[in-house]
């Protein structure tokens, strides 16, 4: 049986479409919380890391479920 992790990483990966969204959401969200560019960028990096971390956790949970039910 094909490893679902390999399957997820193979071929054209639609996950790349999340990258522009994460960047835009992080920057706009951070910009509504600060006025100075330095603070905006710092907050944006933190927000992007949080979103990526959340997505990674969801991915691991789904991967474990897939691994468990097959």
């Amino acid at each position: 049986m094909i490893d679902p992790l390999l399957l997820a990483m193979a071929g054209p990966n639609d996950l790349w479409y999340t990258l522009p969204l994460v960047i835009a959401v992080s920057l706009v969200y951070a910009a509504t919380r600060h006025e100075q560019t330095g603070l905006i960028l710092r907050h944006a990096v933190e927000t992007a890391a949080r979103i990526a971390g959340f997505m990674l956790i969801v991915f691991v949970i789904l991967w474990l479920i897939t691994w468990w039910i097959r």
Binding site: D14, Y17, P20, L21, I23, A24, V25, L27, V28, Y29, A31, T32, R33, H34, E35, Q36, T37, G38, L39, I40, H43
Partner: protein, 200 residues
């Protein structure tokens, strides 16, 4: 007026007329901030929000089905476009969809297929382009991606509108014990997160 402190210095933000700024921010992303003289944020909002919206339009477009097919207003029982409630958040760039929908409701021919509600079945000579089924068949998941991008752009502009209206949101930092009040007091002497005090 809103103030923000960083590194021991306070910066005052002049919000001018907040209602007008909010309206302008809705009309074109970043325009409200441009009116208020907040140029960096105006550029940031315009590039991020309009970039997301235009990329969404591009993803939901094709030479065969036409351009701008993911943004349209429809209230037919079999095709209620709740997405448009989010997409209209970007203001003027999503407005052609409303004009097209009104023209079709009034029995007039739309201005091309751009942002026109696609018919359930293709009607030759109606000027509304290919049917909704044909669009989904041709674009497949890119139609949903286009919807997602344009909806997110509209929702992000709601945040930008609030920022133009009331200034940056108050961020209350936390110390190690999670005591918000202590953290707020300590921010007066630290270079931590922002602590804007907004007044109209």
């Amino acid at each position: 007026m809103a103030t923000e402190k960083s590194g021991g210095t306070a910066e005052t933000v002049q919000l001018k007329d907040p209602i007008l700024a909010a309206f302008l921010a809705w009309l074109i992303p970043g325009l409200g901030h441009l009116y208020q003289g907040r140029l960096t944020k105006a550029a940031l909002f315009f590039v991020c929000i309009m970039g997301t919206f235009v990329y969404g339009l591009y993803l939901g477009s094709d030479e065969e089905v036409g351009w701008g097919r993911v943004v349209y207003a429809s209230w037919r029982p079999d095709d209620r476009r709740y997405h448009y409630l989010c997409q209209i958040g970007v203001g003027l760039p999503a407005m052609p969809a409303l004009i097209q929908a009104i023209r079709i409701r009034d029995g007039k021919k739309p201005f091309g297929s751009f942002m026109a509600p696609p018919p359930r079945e293709e009607i030759p000579g109606a000027g509304r382009g290919v049917s909704l089924d044909a669009i989904h068949l041709r674009l497949a998941r890119y139609f949903q991606l286009g919807e997602l991008y344009t909806c997110v752009a509209g929702l992000l502009n709601v945040l930008a509108i609030l920022d133009a209206w009331a200034g940056p949101v108050i961020v209350v930092g936390r110390d190690e014990k999670g005591d918000k009040k202590k953290a707020k007091d300590s921010e007066d002497t630290s270079d931590g997160a922002a602590e804007p005090a907004a007044t109209p």
